[in-house]
């Protein structure tokens, strides 16, 4: 079970169009990624809510095709 970096990027971008996304393949195995996501959508939301938005964008792949994705979310303020 592995997932392509571009596919992760695409799914997040579809759900959060204004997102600035930085994805790293941590182990080079297509299974352990980190994603830094900056978006205006996170504004005023708790960390749990922010991470849930990201998980939801992956449409159930998290914990299945995608074994590990370390998420770091940031609010975009300059809008």
């Amino acid at each position: 079970m592995a997932m392509d970096k571009n596919e992760i990027q695409k799914l997040i971008k579809e759900a959060i169009p204004d997102a600035v996304i930085d994805i790293q393949d941590l182990a080079g195995d297509g299974n352990h990624y980190s994603a830094k996501i900056t978006s205006g959508i996170f504004k005023g939301k708790s960390k749990i809510e922010q991470h849930k938005i990201v998980y939801n964008s992956l449409k159930g792949k998290m914990g299945n095709e995608l074994h590990a994705l370390a998420i770091s979310t940031k609010e975009k303020n300059n809008e």
């Binding site: 960390k47 749990i48 991470h51 998980y55 159930g60 998290m62």
Partner: protein, 108 residues
Amino acid sequence: MNENIKKIITNEIQNNDVCLFMKGTPDVPQCGFSMAVSNILKILNIKFKGINVLENNELREAIKEYSDWPTIPQLYIKGEFVGGCDIVKEMYEDGKLKEKFKKEKIIS
């Protein structure tokens, strides 16, 4: 989720101030993310109940539904879902986790 397993989860988080649903045990974690959270709790000298979801596949799936959160580990403090590994790590690094434990009177 069947009522039995829901009851087990509710009991655990109500009867333990700090509850960590994890892969493996606090002494022998079976996953790096579970180990990271378990270690943070140990560093802060928090007494916590570690619940090994690898021992019970039904529980492993049920806790995801219960919290509406797709990954493990999951940390509960005083019955409240606080987050998974990324959030707990972030809260530890900026001091908010310690603050939370103080506020909940789990450490002084």
